[in-house]
Amino acid sequence: MTTLYLILQLAWTFFVIGAFTIGGGYAMLSLIQNQVVVEHPWISESAFTDIVAISQMTPGPIGINSATYVGYEVLFNATGSQFLGVCGSLTATLALILPSFLIMLLIVRFYLKFKSSRLYAGTMSWLKPSVVGLIGAAAIILIIKTTWTGFTPSVQVVSENFPDWKSWLLLASAFIASYWGKVNPIYVILAGAVLGIILY
């Protein structure tokens, strides 16, 4: 009974994520993170970071890969059953693409109208900057955690992701390599793994 409830909760959560993701995979990450790390106590910050890493290294869109993975983890952690884990990943993945499916079928029908609609283009031009902020927030939440007691915030570094100064060095070098060096993300992650084994 509780398992069924969990599956339904998972389905609804990922349906909403799918419906509100505008701006691609990284925007989707910010919504998934908010729902499964912040809103529901399903996955820890560091486990989510690992999932993002694995989703980036494997074929397919990062948003869908993370959903598949999160679906498995949530059900497996709650029940210990691999079969239910598979059910969880199926549920999360299909629920995630269902809204796109419905909306795209509408768009296909009114393709030409959408294409030339300035109202649509105008609305999108405002949504995109906001999505930039959402993605930035996803990155920040994996670095620091803010908890409020009344009106006083307390800010803490997520220590599983940043145990010491070496982590900050890794963060900075990865940014430089990826942004200015234009190194493929997969190589950046592999370099991180090798450096992790050497440094720790």
Partner: protein, 195 residues
Amino acid sequence: MEKRVSLWEIFLVFAKIGAFTIGGGYAMIPLIQAEMSRRGWIADEDLPDIVALSQSAPGVMAVNISIFAGHKLRGVKGSIAATLGSILPSFLIILAIAMFFTAFKDNPWVERAFKGIRPVVISLIAVPMVKMAQKSCKNVWHWALAIVSLVLVSFLNVSPIYIILCVLVLGFSVSYYRINKEIPGQAGNDGEGGR
């Protein structure tokens, strides 16, 4: 389309595309283009529009393109075949890793590797964000919106869903107002938010 393409063929072509795109949606575009034009499924000159629409529709671009292309070939059934095809390879791979990784998570080597990977991943989220900001933040209001969204979500723990809903209403109202303010008949010059 004079000749009906079989659903199985659609499924296979998109499974191939799904299996070979590492790094998400944009990596997929050249592959989709090659496969589609080779088969005459989508003309090269139509692709930019399809990509643009798939990007702005909710969800993941790669899936949206599959839905679109599948629909063009065989209607709703074609959409389903294309979508299932494009997500199946990564679904199986992730599932295998998820089952495998839970057993190896506590291995000291894996633990050390992931200690190195975690900070790196955060940079890999930050880089596309910076690139998107350079492309889509065109005036001071856009920047303000980006910063307000960031602060609300990361420090005040507001759900991104509410932010998107509010911005949807805001963006729609501003654009509606701007479009209707213009003199009728002058509709040619576009430049929404770009000035």
